[in-house]
């Protein structure tokens, strides 16, 4: 079984549309949407939901107003400015924790002289397991303002792997998060192959270089493909040269095609909808399908 993770230094490069098409072409894949902050893949694959699970991670401080004597200790120890006084009739009645600001460090809980602070587990989002026309799919939505998106990414990958193991799937296709921090790290550790989707822009080349540093750091076999390459043919060449110089392989170019948006509006993958870009995507898949990638190692990264 191979695990291919599709990433891009920044969002909006067409990563999700491409992943959906690869799922259609792979035929025998478990699909995982690890872009948990802006999960869009389900809009194209319309999974039938089989299971919904709460995702809990970390804790949050909650002050019981009745037990609080407004001694200020919690406010003084909190480094995240999460504890605020609550005034009643013009005097400080008690303190309350701003759940969005609370980092869940538990320092106030430990130092409250009245033991007035509870520390329940925090629900940070949910993940769903469903069935699509191309195979099983795991996807998630991180709660607004939630943390630990790396952990949710790891959870989604773990679920996808379990399904792939059970069904002897040949591929796990991962729609990765944008950026280079915690969620991306969680989505690429222990995977077999990365595909970096780049647009031919000046910022695209910057972002690619940063994300390639990351895949190199994790010694992950990496491919680069350029999306909407005709937007700037010269930049396309520069990016390809930079990618080769960085020691990664090229998976091809995808043309600028209005059909990509039309497919999205119809809730279809580009290869189902057809068009020029669809042919380009087939070529990209052909390059990847034969690529020697490391067999997927268990997803172990906990961030």
């Amino acid at each position: 079984m191979k695990e291919l993770v599709v990433i891009s230094g920044k969002g909006g490069t067409g990563k999700t549309s491409l992943t959906a098409s690869l799922a259609a072409l792979a035929g025998d894949a478990v699909i995982a949407d690890c872009d948990v902050d802006a999960a869009d893949l389900h809009l194209l694959l319309s999974p039938k939901v089989l299971k919904v699970e709460e995702f809990r991670s970390g804790r949050e401080a909650v002050i019981r107003p009745g037990d609080c004597i407004a001694c200020d200790v919690c406010r003084d120890v909190c480094r995240y400015d999460a504890v605020r006084p609550v005034f009643e009739n013009g005097r400080k009645a008690h303190y309350a924790v701003d759940a969005i600001a609370c980092e869940g460090c538990g320092v106030c809980v430990r130092f409250c002289p009245e033991h007035a602070i509870d520390f329940p587990e925090r629900v940070c989002g949910e993940y769903r397991i469903g069935e699509t026309r191309f195979g099983p799919m795991v996807y998630a939505q991180l709660g607004i303002g939630a943390e630990n998106s790396g952990k949710l990414v790891s959870t989604v990958r773990k679920e996808a792997r379990a399904i792939a193991d059970d069904g002897n799937a040949r591929w796990i296709l991962v729609d990765g998060p944008p950026g280079i921090a915690c969620p991306v790290i969680a989505s690429i550790t222990g995977s077999s192959l990365a595909l970096v989707v780049v647009e031919p822009t000046l910022s695209g080349i910057h972002d690619m270089e940063r994300v390639l540093e990351l895949t190199r750091h994790f010694a992950l076999p990496t491919f680069v493909c350029i999306n909407k390459w005709e937007l700037n043919p010269q930049m396309t060449q520069e990016i390809e040269a930079a990618a080769l110089a960085a020691g990664v392989s090229l998976a091809g170019r995808i043309g600028y095609d209005r059909a990509v948006t039309d497919a999205q509006i119809r809730g279809l993958t580009v290869v189902e909808h057809g068009g020029r870009a669809a042919e380009d995507i087939r070529a990209v898949w052909a390059a990847l399908a034969d690529a020697p990638g490391a067999p997927a190692a268990p997803a172990t990264m906990e961030v």
């Binding site: 869009d40 991180l142 790396g150 950026g179």
Partner: protein, 295 residues
């Protein structure tokens, strides 16, 4: 006056709006690039940057001579960043959130803190724009502390524009907090609409006043317009799906320079935002672009 530019997902044109808006605002204007994982504003503004300051997060250091293996530090740490199993504690700096709990709880005073470097805050200028950006080191997992470090540069006077990271999770909250107004940038596609709804939920949670800019707008893709109408969200600006815009972006050029007729649109955007904010605050700020005669 602090204006945040945000979007539910990346690649919608956040940076385009932030940089072009800064360009059309009158002095003093400061732009903070808080998209610290992929700071891109500099590409369009070409600021002359100083060497930058390294931003740090405090992590514990153990004085083994004072440590009596009591294990309190390991018990208070919620992030498994300090582990002590009847032994001298081991610190995993990458997991540390810098809460200071271990230092506070240590009965023998064996724990102090030192700064662990997580990224750089650079400052510079580009024409009339004062520019600040954060750049997270590759391999660092936590961006909010760096975002907070960048936000320490919010200007006391004039307008500060914040280019936020994409998404709706903790980095975005760190960037949006304390702003006066949020501009949500989206595209008129199913993905764009889905992510816009998440962004709207985020700014509503923070009780921020906000409006929407539709990028790559076409006359027939109406779904975002309809959603905004239904939700009574002002659409502040629509940027047409114009190949010249995409090409200017790809070459790292500002669209108000590449597509002159859009300059006026951006000036109107400046006015629209500023008057929304002034509606609430009293402090008057000149609401004109840099072009003479526009008011």
């Amino acid at each position: 006056m602090i204006i945040a530019i945000a979007s539910g997902k990346g690649g919608t044109g956040k940076t385009t709006i932030a940089t072009n808006l800064a360009m059309c605002l009158q002095k003093p204007v400061r732009l903070l690039d808080c998209d610290v994982e992929e700071p891109n504003c500099h590409i369009f503004l070409n600021p002359d940057l100083d060497g930058g300051e390294r931003a740090t997060l405090p992590v514990p250091v153990i004085d083994e001579g004072l440590c009596n293996n009591c294990g309190e530090c390991g018990r208070i740490c919620q992030f498994n960043a300090i582990v002590s199993l009847k032994t001298k504690p081991l610190v995993f700096p990458a997991l540390c959130h810098g809460c200071g709990g271990c230092m506070r709880v240590c009965p023998t005073g064996a724990i102090s803190e030192e700064g662990r470097e997580i990224g750089t805050v650079e400052t510079g200028t580009s024409g009339h724009i004062e520019f600040v950006q954060g750049r997270l080191d590759v391999g660092q997992a936590q961006s909010p502390p760096l975002i907070r470090a960048v936000k320490r540069h919010i200007a006391e006077e004039g307008v500060t524009i914040i280019d936020c990271p994409p998404g709706t999770s903790c980095p975005v909250i760190a960037a949006l907090k304390g702003c006066d107004y949020a501009v949500l940038v989206t595209e008129s596609t199913p993905f764009g609409l889905h992510d816009l709804k998440l962004a709207v939920a985020t700014v509503r949670l923070l009780h921020l006043d906000f409006g929407v800019v539709i990028n790559r707008a076409t006359p027939h893709d109406v779904m975002v317009r309809e959603y905004c109408k239904k939700e009574r969200i002002p659409v502040l600006l629509e940027i047409p799906d114009d190949r010249r815009v995409a090409e200017a972006y790809s070459r790292g050029k500002l669209i108000v320079e590449a597509v002159p007729e859009l300059r006026e649109s951006f000036e109107r955007l400046c006015c629209a935002i500023i008057s929304r904010i002034q509606h609430r605050d009293a402090a008057p700020i000149p609401c004109a672009g840099t072009t003479p005669g526009v008011s």
